[in-house]
């Protein structure tokens, strides 16, 4: 240290001291960012680490979860599997499959374990827990999305589950090493912006932390229903057909860029191994293809970039035929005479349309 200091003149030391004292004036901003990130904690990374377990417990008690935010939903679903008894039907998939529930199968014990933006790796994590807990259902509906083969790392808590199940499947696929985000997110400016948004808008901290959990909670915001399905916020439910059409124009672009729609040979193999494993355990696997809004589908059919969506569609159709997996639904809404009024937005079908799709299949699903 002394040797280093010997290279620095007294003038420089004075200048360095002056600089550091001025730089320290920005320290309150840094402290403010860290404090807000921790105190508001929009992703429940610091203060509400047991939020997922609480949510799962409430669901197991037959209660709906108001003001639901799918932040740590992989964990929520993992705990749900651990707490809940065995179901007849389990649904895996993304929010596009979040409407399949008791309204479609009133006499069956069904649990929807959708995950926001869920991919094959998330499905593997949940199946691992089900297998471990001996809670495999008789029928498994897998919601098919074009981004199924996204290999983005999820929260570290489920990495081991995925790896364990991959071993059972005889796969040598390795998930990307997931990392604990909590330390770095403390300095994240995008996390800070979310926190500030919560603090300064109607999405008040108090409301968010205190979610109502009775059976008839007011469904103004998103509500996770006791069968795992999602009741959309009032702002979405109130949208007219024309409003949805107008909103589809800008959002289809974002959707096109949001995920990597590309086949992944390694994950394709894992998918096949997974289905064969499930079938060998006596589980009936069904692929559910949630429809897109007519306008979005037309756009995807035309555009080079999203043409990959249709490629993925074909891939999953072929896979279903190869492994004798039943198919329900289609990305193409015209198959259900849809002209756009059955959607909340470009991707998400309303419950009535989902029910119509399932009812349109004779003996579907057969139990």
């Amino acid at each position: 240290m002394e040797k280093i200091l010997s290279y620095i003149s007294n003038f420089e030391i004075q200048d360095i001291k002056r600089f550091l004292s001025k730089a320290a004036r920005f320290f309150p901003i840094l402290i403010g960012i860290v404090c807000l990130n921790i105190l508001v904690d929009p992703g429940d990374m610091f203060l509400e680490k047991d939020h997922a377990r609480k949510t799962a417990t409430q669901l197991a008690c037959g209660k709906n979860i108001g003001n639901y935010r799918p932040v740590d939903d992989v964990l929520t679903r993992k705990y749900t599997i651990e707490i809940m008894p065995v179901s007849d039907i389990v649904v895996l998939g993304s929010s596009r499959s979040a409407e399949i529930g008791e309204n479609i199968f009133p006499n069956k014990k069904i649990m929807n374990l959708w995950i926001s933006g869920g991919s094959l790796l998330d499905d593997l994590a949940l199946l691992s827990v089900m297998d471990e807990q001996k809670k495999m259902p008789r029928t498994l509906i897998i919601g098919i999305d074009p981004w199924m083969f996204s290999s983005e790392p999820r929260r570290s808590e489920t990495s081991d589950d995925i790896q364990k199940f991959l071993k059972k499947l005889g796969s040598n696929y390795h998930t990307k090493p997931s990392f604990d985000q909590s330390f770095w997110i403390i300095l994240s400016l995008s996390y800070f912006q979310q926190a500030a948004n919560i603090l300064f808008t109607h999405d008040h901290l108090f409301v968010r932390r205190n979610f109502p959990t009775d059976e008839n909670c007011q469904k103004l915001e998103y509500t996770l229903l006791k069968d795992g399905t999602l009741s959309w916020a009032e702002t979405y439910r109130a949208r007219t057909k024309e409003e949805v059409r107008q909103l589809t124009i800008p959002t289809v672009h974002i959707g096109g860029k949001m995920f990597t729609f590309k086949p992944d040979q390694a994950l394709e193999k894992v998918m096949e191994q997974m289905i064969l494993y499930l079938q060998s355990r006596g589980v009936e696997v069904i692929f559910y293809f949630p429809p897109y809004h007519e306008y979005a589908y037309q756009w995807m059919s035309l555009k080079e970039k999203t043409f990959k969506v249709l490629e993925m569609d074909r891939y999953f159709q072929d896979l279903a035929r190869k492994l004798k997996v039943r198919i329900i639904g289609s990305f193409d809404p015209r198959q259900f005479d849809q002209t756009g009024d059955g959607f909340y937005d470009s991707y998400h079908a309303r419950p009535d349309l989902v029910k119509k799709i399932f009812n349109s299949y004779e003996s579907s699903p057969k139990f």
Binding site: I8, S9, F11, E12, D15, I16, R18, F19, K22, R25, F26, I29, I33, S188, L189, S190, F192, Q193, A196, Q246, I249, P250, V252, H253, I254, G256, K257, W299, L302, K303, K305
Partner: protein, 460 residues
């Protein structure tokens, strides 16, 4: 040097070997050029330029030329293998190759002594603040700086940091916010009409300016913090009153590179009139192709070359016209008009720069006059908010922030005409200076768009 290597390897580590290869070739070539005479000297110059250009051609232009040759072959009924190499362009390749070329040419012309210290020459090419997107420095301006001892000076360090903060503000707050709108519309032009394209293109003009000048400010500022001086790369280009002035103020290091090594080598203006204009046109064509292997860049370059030549042809008529309608008696109005026309022409050329392909670019140009009646009808029947939303797909509330940011940017630039804003604040009370600094930092914190867009010029 270590930091520069680490910085470069952060993107694609193995490409560092290409950089080392080029450095070694040009380093040796520089020494041999200086030490030899006659044809041998020329040979070394050719070897150096050729090896640099081959690497640039292979990574940047091979697929483009191959595909076009295949298309011509197909048209003529010849069989030509249409093989596409799946290669990623090494980051900053166009910039550091130009900097290397500049070195060997300067040594050849005797304006620069060959650098005998390999480490210093390597640092000249790899110096990390300007490695990936310039400014493209000349050896006379940089090499000697690597031999100087650099001390910690409060004024210099803080000035550098202020410049970096301003650059980051331009990039994160303005460019990346405008990118949301621009990307939306340019990703799928078939959904939009004239008003949306006009808005997106104006936004793009400022997006690319804030993106690139923001990067340059960060680079210059970072170098300044360490005690190095890099050349200015932008000088309020959208206040230019003519296209030639614009090119003296936009990407100055590249414009001057093309002027010194291409335009003047072709004969510059010391030749017959038609040849002079051809030199201008060819220089701009090359400049367009430098930006990317796509016909859109070719047309963009050609268009700018045409603007300049047309400017020369029409100078007399325009002057006469200005005099006859009395514009020359209103100098401020004349300047405003000239700046407006220049900005419009530049914006028009940006359409070709930004469009995904030539088809999209011509589609956008063909749609420019359309949709204005529809916009007015929407506004008259549904009000301004819903009318704009119906036509552009964006609400007025979404548009207010980027518009306010553009007004602020132009206000700051207008002020900088007379004095650098940093120097203006230097004499002001501490509370005012610190309010400004806090304002900049807080607006980055609250209004910045994070993790969405890399710098546009990284792709070149």
């Amino acid at each position: 040097m270590g930091a520069s290597c680490l910085f470069y390897m952060w993107f694609i580590p193995k490409y560092i070997f290409i950089l080392f290869f080029l450095i070694l070739i040009d380093y040796c070539a520089g020494i041999f050029i200086e030490d030899t005479q006659g044809r041998a000297r020329q040979c070394w110059l050719v070897v150096s330029i050729a090896s640099t250009c081959i690497v640039l051609f292979f990574f940047k232009y091979f697929n483009f030329f191959n595909q076009n040759l295949a298309a011509i072959g197909h048209f003529l009924g010849l069989s030509y293998p249409d093989h596409v190499f799946e290669i990623i362009l090494p980051i900053g390749l166009s910039f550091h190759t130009f900097q290397s070329l500049s070195y060997v040419i300067e040594v050849y012309k005797g304006r620069q002594k060959a650098e005998r210290h390999l480490g210093i020459y390597a640092l000249y090419v790899m110096f990390y603040p300007q490695l990936v997107s310039g400014p493209i420095e000349r050896p006379q301006h940089m090499l000697f700086q690597f031999r100087e001892k650099h001390y910690f000076e409060y004024r210099r360090v803080t000035d550098g940091l202020k410049l970096m903060a301003w650059g980051m503000f331009k990039k994160i707050v303005i460019a990346d916010r405008l990118a949301i709108f621009v990307n939306e519309i340019y990703t799928d032009p078939s959904l939009y009409h004239g008003p949306a394209f006009v808005m997106a293109t104006i936004f793009f003009a400022f997006q690319i300016y804030c993106d690139f000048s923001g990067y340059s400010d960060i680079a210059i500022g970072a170098a300044q913090v360490m005690g190095f001086r890099l050349m200015d790369n932008f000088n309020r280009p959208y206040f230019s009153k003519s296209i030639s002035e614009f090119w003296r103020r936009w990407h100055i290091s590249l414009s001057s590179w093309f002027k010194d090594y291409v335009y003047i080598s072709l004969g510059g203006n010391r030749c017959v009139r038609w040849r002079w204009q051809m030199n201008i046109f060819l220089t701009f064509l090359l400049s367009g192709m430098w930006h990317g292997a796509n016909w859109t860049f070719f047309i963009w370059g050609a268009l700018n070359g045409f603007y300049l030549i047309f400017g020369i042809w029409s100078a007399y008529i325009r002057n006469k016209l200005s005099q006859s309608i009395g514009l020359t008696r209103q100098p401020k109005l004349l300047k405003f008009w000239q700046a407006g026309v220049t900005f419009s022409l530049i914006c028009f050329s940006w359409i070709f720069f930004r469009a995904k392909d030539i088809h999209d670019a011509f589609y956008i140009v063909s749609q420019l006059p359309k949709g204005w009646g529809e916009l007015l009808e929407h506004i008259s029947t549904q009000g301004i908010g819903k009318g704009i939303y119906g036509c552009l797909g964006f609400g007025t509330r979404q548009l207010i922030l980027p518009l306010l940011l553009l007004v602020s940017l132009n206000a700051v630039e207008a002020v900088q005409r007379h004095n650098n804003i940093r120097h203006m604040f230097a004499g002001k009370p501490a509370w005012l200076r610190w309010s400004f600094y806090y304002g900049i930092v807080l607006s980055m914190v609250f209004l910045g768009v994070y993790g969405k867009n890399s710098f546009i010029y990284f792709q070149f």
